[in-house]
């Protein structure tokens, strides 16, 4: 199982703070998780998760789309940061 968190505007748009994914058989990379989620929950998720500026982290480190995932990883999808 992996856990996927959502933050900021994306969390509001999806109306979800996090989601658990149990079946990882087809989900070798973070980008495959993104595509899987964008196809599974309707048009709002599809549009929101296909925005080009979405940042992805694995185990709290920002990664590129082709990063491999494994069981137990903590993923997050979020808009560009606006701190300070």
């Amino acid at each position: 199982m992996i856990k996927v968190f959502f933050f900021g505007r994306l969390r509001e748009t999806l109306n979800a703070s996090s989601i658990d994914i149990s079946d990882l058989s087809e989900l070798a990379t973070v980008d495959k998780v993104r595509i899987h989620l964008s196809k599974s929950y309707g048009p709002i998720w599809e549009e929101a998760l296909n925005q080009s500026n979405i940042v992805i982290s694995v185990n709290q480190v920002v990664v590129s789309a082709d990063t491999a995932i494994q069981d137990g990883d903590e993923l997050a999808f979020f808009p560009p940061m606006t701190g300070g």
Partner: protein, 155 residues
Amino acid sequence: MSSMIVRLQEERFEPGSLQSTLFDETNRTGGLVTFTGYVRATDAKGIPLKSLFLEHYPGMTEKSIKGIIKEALDRWDIESTCVVHRVGLLLPRDPIVWVGSAATHRGDAFNCCEFVMDYLKTKAPFWKKEETEEGVRWIDSLASDGDRIARWDAS
């Protein structure tokens, strides 16, 4: 040895007392540079702000700020650094973030403080939402903040 303090909190902070604490950690410091970020009184269009909400990613926030400070410590000779960042609901003119760097030489302290702020703006997982009488709006990231990061890579 370089000391490092990172704090996330909902409470207000006092820049003066943070600076005293930071300075007390040092014994060879000649210069101390601080940055305080404040909630502006208006939004980008000049409409008075009612409030600012700061969301973050607990766990990753501390981790990424510590990573940013470590990168600064590799570049400059710093005796002590502190970052305090507020989260949750803030009001206009509230202090949001405080970064302090103490060093033997002032150039190192200036560089470290500005570097940490530039990276914090775009590499630490915070998201800001503004409320005015026109409604509530997530703030977009600024291209200029990305440009400021690129400067450090070039130098």
